[in-house]
Symmetry: C2
Subunit: 373 residues, 2 copies
C-alpha cells in the first residue's frame, strides 16, 4: 500500500476491478448488461451487505437498488456505486431503470433467480421487451469469486486463524461426559467472544459411534471415555468464512482406529500436496482417494474431497472425481477426506488451502498428528 | 390421545392429513400431482429433515426421493411415505418417476424453483412433455403451513417457552459495560445448553443509539450506563422456531424515552387484542399503527406489524397495512411494532400469538411492563 492511500481507496479500487471483470464476462456471454441479485455477489461487487438489493452493471456504470432501511448503510458501504433507494422491490426498480437506460439484453443468473422472480421481472418491463431483455447466463460473478484478491485473502486468512485458535482451545476442554451440545455451545460462545459475526454453518460435533455420520449435528450424546470426536466448524469474520475439521481420540485407541486415522491423514496430506496451480480439481480428489484405495478404505470415503470457501461456505471450485477445472493462484479450497464406518466409527481431517503462484499455503495449521486426550 | 396409540401413530396420521390437504389444493389448482422441493415443505408433509429431497404427491401416493447419505434417516423420519434412494439429483429422479407413472400435469412452486432448476426438470423428461408437464402454482404447501396442527402448536409453544426462559435469565445478567456481542454470545450459549438446535436468526442486540436500528446485529459496542437495550432472538426446537423481542432500559430514563416506550407497548397490546379469528391481517396492523398515529409516532414505525412463524422464521400470514387475508385458529403470528428515531433511540416489543377458536393465546408471557435495570 503506497503512502497516503487510505484503506477506502484500496477497497474502492478492488470493487472497481471486480465490476470491470464482471462486465467483461457479461460482454463475452453476449449481453450488454448484467443484473446481479444473489446477495453474496452484490456484496462482492459493491461492498453492500444489506438484505435487499439488486445491482446493475451496464455501459461501464454500476447502480445499486435497495430500500429506505439502508439509505445510510448503502452510501457508506457501496463506495463507487450509484445508490438508488426504491419504494418498490429492488429488482423491480432495477428492471424499470434498464428500460429507461435503453438496455437491450441483460444477463441474469439462472441458478439464483426463481421462476416467480423472472415472471415479476418480465412484468416490470413493456410487453415488447419481455422475451428479449432477460437472458439466462451462467453464474458469472460466482465464477469470479473463486479467485480471491488480496483483500479477500486477508479476510479468509483471519477467519481461518480464528478457527485454529478456537480449535486449539478446545483441546484443553474436551473430556468424556460433556455432551456434544455442550461442546458446540462452548465453541460457539468462545467464537462470539473472539469477535465472530456468526458460525459459517451448524457446528458438527460427532463422537463415538456418531463419528461415523459425515454431518452429525451436535446431539445430546455424551462424549465417550474411549472413542473419536470429530469437530467440524467455521467462523464468519467481515463476511468471509472459515471451515476446518479435526478428529481427536478420547482414551486409548484400538489399533484399527489408529490405522484408519493414519490412512485418512496420509490421504489428506497427499491431497494438500497435490494442490498447485494448473492441477485439475479431479486430480486433487484422486490424490486423496488413491491413498485410501490402496488400503481398501475408499468405499467408506463417501463424499468429495473439498470445495471453495469465501463469502459462502460452499463455493467453486468443486474438488470431486473427474472434475476438469484447473486450480489457479488465489483460490481457497478445503481438503477434507474422511472415512465413515456405519455403526462403528469415522473421522475426517480438513484444512483450508490457498493456491499460490509457487504452490500452496495451508491456512489452518492446527495439529493434525494423532491426538489422544 | 387414546390409549395404546403411540406417538408414531399420531405423527403418521398428521402427515397423512397434511398430504391429503396438499393433494386437494393441487387438484383445485388444476394439476394431477405436486412436486415439492422446498425443504420446509418436504419436512412438513413427510417428516424428512435431510438436506436433499424431492417429494411427489400423485394419485393418492407420496414418494420421497433422496440420496444414499439418508437411507436410514429417510426411512425412520418419513413414516407413511415411500422412500426412493437415487444416485442422481432428487428432483431429476422425481421427474423420471413422473414420466413412468404417467403424470400429465405436475404443479411446482414457482417461488422456490429457480430458472435453472426448471430447465433441468424439463431436460429430465421426454421432449413432448417438456411444455405441458410442469405447471407453476402458488406456494400451496406454504399456504397450508400457516395453520398449525396440534403437534406443531406443541412444538412452537415449547420453543416460545424456552425463549421466554432465556430472556428472563438475561434480566439478571444485563449491565452497562458488557458488549452487545457478549450479550448475544451468552444468550446463545445458554440456548444451546438448554437444548436449542440453533437460533432462529442472527441474534439482535441493539443498545444506546444503536437501538434506533430495527435490525442491529450485535456489535462490539458496550451497553451504555443509560439507554435502551433491545433483544430480538429466537430458538429452534425440533425444527420449530420462536421469535420474541423485549426492550429494557439501563439506568434512569428521560421522560421522552418512557413516553415512547409506553406508546409502543400500548400499540403492541392493542394489536395483540385485535387478534381474533376472522380479523384481517391489515386490521391487526392498523390496530398497532393507529395507537402510534395518535401520538404522532407512526412515521417512525417503519416496518410491518408481524408475520407467521413455524418451520421458517418468516412465513405467512403477513401482518401489514391493507393485507386482506383473514386470521384463522391455529395460525401463529408475531406482533412486533417498534419506533426508531435515527441518531437517538428506538425500541420494539414482540410477542408470538396463537390464534384460537375463542380469540388468542400469547405464547411469550415474559414481562413487557417498563423495566429499568
Amino acid at each position: 500500500m503506497s503512502e497516503g492511500m487510505g484503506l477506502s481507496k484500496i477497497k474502492r479500487m478492488n470493487f472497481k476491478a471486480r465490476k470491470r471483470r464482471a462486465a467483461a464476462l457479461a460482454k463475452k456471454a453476449g449481453v450488454d448488461s448484467l443484473l446481479v441479485t444473489h446477495l453474496p455477489d452484490v456484496r462482492y461487487l459493491s461492498g453492500f451487505t444489506g438484505s435487499n438489493a439488486a445491482l446493475m452493471l451496464a455501459g461501464g456504470k454500476s447502480v445499486l437498488f435497495t430500500d429506505g432501511r439502508y439509505t445510510a448503510q448503502a452510501k457508506t458501504e457501496a463506495m463507487g456505486t450509484r445508490v438508488v433507494i426504491a419504494n418498490k422491490p429492488a429488482v423491480t426498480a432495477a428492471c424499470e431503470w434498464m428500460v429507461e437506460a435503453g438496455v437491450k439484453r441483460s444477463g441474469f443468473d439462472a441458478i439464483h433467480t426463481t421462476v416467480a422472480a423472472l415472471e415479476s421481472m418480465r412484468k416490470a418491463v413493456p410487453a415488447k421487451l419481455r422475451r428479449s431483455l432477460f437472458v439466462a447466463v451462467e453464474p458469472l460473478v460466482e465464477g469470479l469469486r473463486q479467485v480471491k484478491d488480496e483483500d479477500e485473502i486477508a479476510k479468509v486468512r483471519a477467519a481461518a486463524k480464528l478457527g485454529c485458535q478456537l480449535f486449539d482451545g478446545m483441546l484443553e476442554y474436551l473430556r468424556p461426559g460433556l455432551t456434544e451440545m455442550e461442546v458446540a455451545a462452548t465453541l460457539e460462545h468462545r467464537a462470539r467472544l473472539a469477535g465472530a459475526e456468526a458460525m459459517s454453518f451448524e457446528t458438527i460435533v460427532a463422537s463415538g459411534e456418531r463419528s461415523a455420520l459425515p454431518h452429525g449435528r451436535a446431539s445430546s450424546q455424551k462424549l465417550p471415555k474411549r472413542g473419536f470426536v470429530t469437530l467440524d466448524f467455521g467462523v464468519v469474520l467481515d463476511g468471509y468464512m472459515s471451515d476446518m475439521t479435526r478428529t481427536v481420540h478420547l482414551g486409548k485407541a484400538q489399533p484399527e482406529e489408529r490405522d484408519v486415522y493414519d490412512a485418512v491423514l496420509e490421504a489428506q496430506e497427499a491431497a494438500v500436496q497435490a494442490v498447485v496451480p494448473g492441477v485439475t480439481a479431479g486430480e486433487v480428489d484422486e490424490a486423496a482417494r488413491s491413498v485410501l484405495r490402496k488400503v481398501e478404505l475408499d468405499p467408506w470415503f463417501t463424499h468429495s474431497t473439498g470445495h471453495g470457501v469465501g463469502l459462502e461456505i460452499h463455493e467453486g471450485p468443486r474438488l470431486a472425481a473427474k472434475q476438469t477445472q484447473r486450480l489457479e493462484p488465489g483460490m481457497v479450497v478445503t481438503i477434507e477426506p474422511g472415512v465413515y464406518m456405519p455403526g462403528r466409527f469415522g473421522l475426517r481431517i480438513e484444512d483450508m488451502v490457498l493456491v499460490t503462484a509457487a504452490a500452496r499455503e495451508v491456512l489452518t495449521p492446527s495439529v493434525k498428528a494423532w491426538v489422544e486426550l
